[in-house]
Symmetry: C2
Subunit: 197 residues, 2 copies
């Protein structure tokens, strides 16, 4: 299957809401956010995609979100129709597609669970999720700004900032720089009442 490599710069648009959904994408390096702008101007980030993640199939004919590169990002693109066509012959590919969409559903469902928790639980769940998806080590480098985190978690930037500070004071995390977070997982898990699959 022909995959086209593409390069996007910080904050550049990958696709827009309501654009025809022509491609599926896989992140090679960098990070991507998908989002919608509400009428009142707020932005809701639906998901972050990190190296290895596949995105773009939140769509029938046209995309329901916009997608932007958070930082310098390399992607692979394949034609959506080509994938679906090939999947109609190859059981294995069909199953992979199915699983990928199921994973996507899982993520959105987990996100819904997040959004009904306290600010602290949201931030902790976010950090653990990013940590699990990027590195097995205890430190993570966030590619996204506090504003991105806030729009993802349905909080304000101030509340996110305060929560980071609080977690640091509790010894649950360390913040060598604003974008680098060292997790003390045992402490974090203790503070973490929720059941996020």
């Amino acid at each position: 299957m022909i995959a086209t490599p593409m390069r996007f710069t910080r904050n550049s648009e990958i696709y827009g809401e309501d654009e025809a959904a022509e491609y599926l994408y896989q992140v090679v390096s960098g990070a991507v956010r998908t989002y919608k702008i509400l009428e009142d101007g707020r932005r809701q980030i639906g998901a972050f995609y990190l190296p290895g993640d596949i995105f773009g199939f939140e769509a029938e004919e046209s995309h329901i979100s916009s997608a932007e590169a958070i930082c310098e990002t390399h992607l692979l693109m394949v034609k959506r129709t080509a994938v679906i066509f090939r999947a109609s012959h190859e059981r294995e590919l069909a199953r992979q597609l199915w699983d990928a969409m199921a994973l996507e559903l899982r993520r959105f469902q987990a996100h819904s669970m997040l959004l009904i928790s306290s600010a602290e639980d949201r931030v902790i769940a976010f950090l653990l999720d990013i940590s699990r998806r990027t590195t097995k080590s205890a430190a993570i480098d966030l590619p996204m700004s506090r504003q991105d985190v806030a729009d993802y978690l349905g909080l304000t930037i101030e509340t996110v900032s305060r929560t980071f500070t609080q977690l640091e004071q509790n010894g649950a995390i360390a913040l060598p720089t604003t974008r680098r977070v060292e997790l003390r997982k045992d402490t974090l898990s203790n503070r973490f009442a929720q059941n996020f699959g």
Copy 2:
């Protein structure tokens, strides 16, 4: 494809979280809720399914939510593996499956948008959604309790109840009985700041 009809009584379990995901289901009559119980005992309802809706494919191998009949409910069940197998031969079926999952994703995404709005907007969006999915007339009969609505919207039952009362006092809805709601759509839309697809 062999579809088995099944009957479920009020509050009976259709499948449990972590059960093997053997079937896909279509609602013939009645109503279904899918939900997860959080560690702290709260229940998050992920979705309601109404006549015509297909559910059960929020799954790779096992379900990620439990499903219950809200009231007396008739379903059709088909083996998941049978559907996927047939989809690997039939392009049209594959496309239908794809679209159905995309719709499911859309719903979860819309739900995330809901959960970051005010209580009033959540309730209005909920009512408009149910209305759109059931009847073109201005009156709807809610199969679910206030507690169900609260757990779906991430609010308390008290807030839901207060919001219903408020909307009635504003003339945006009428409540002949607690489960029957007459929508004044123009008034509702005015009060409704959000951009829910």
